[in-house]
């Protein structure tokens, strides 16, 4: 049993797609603030530092955030803070 895919029957009106598409993108990053969220795995910060540099070179504002621990979900307050302070976000680096 444990190696077989499991199937559930949809209890809803089936109006929404099985896979919700990601939300709309802004089209360009000009004038926007990018949040860089560190998942708190070792070495990830070096990768993020470089992204930070590359974005800044293009004149894009960058803000940095860090999760408490990579294996835990980001705290709702942290997500809310990112929402308040940024337009888009990048989370790295899962390895």
């Amino acid at each position: 049993m444990s190696t077989r895919e499991q199937i559930l029957l949809d209890p809803t009106a089936e109006i929404s797609p099985v896979m919700t598409p990601h939300i709309a993108r802004p089209g360009s990053l000009d004038g926007l603030t990018v949040g860089l969220l560190d998942i708190a795995k070792q070495r990830g910060v070096e990768f993020l530092d470089r992204l930070d540099e590359l974005l800044s070179e293009r004149g894009i504002t960058v803000k940095r955030y860090k999760k408490e621990r990579f294996s835990k979900l980001a705290a709702p307050e942290l997500l809310k803070q990112i929402k308040e302070e940024c337009d888009v976000a990048v989370e790295a680096l899962a390895d």
Binding site: V18, M19, T20, P21, H22, I23, A24, R25, P26, G27, S28, L29, V34, G35, L37, I39, K41, Q42, R43, G44, E46, F47, R50, L51, L54, K67, L73, A74, P76, L79, K80, I82, K83, C86, D87, V88, A89, V90, E91, A92, L93, A94, D95
Partner: protein, 72 residues
């Protein structure tokens, strides 16, 4: 992936970055969440890389990240 979905639920377009080791896992997670998260993959491994190599990975992924986050 949960965080990406969480951020997008709040209205913040987001992209996750993972190594190629996670291609399958990301697909499964995405299915599990019923949410099409945007992910950019960089070459595995990470931990034993030199600093320069890590920067190289970021350089290489940069345009794809910009593309997936801005849609432009």
């Amino acid at each position: 992936m949960h965080d990406i979905k969480g951020l997008e639920t709040l209205g913040v377009p987001s992209v996750g970055i993972a190594t190629t080791e996670f291609v399958d896992a990301a697909e499964v997670q995405s299915k599990y969440l019923g949410y099409n998260t945007a992910v950019v993959f960089v070459a595995h491994p990470i931990q034993d890389r030199t600093h320069a190599e890590l920067q190289g990975l970021a350089d290489k992924a940069f345009e794809e990240i910009i593309g997936k986050i801005s849609g432009g």
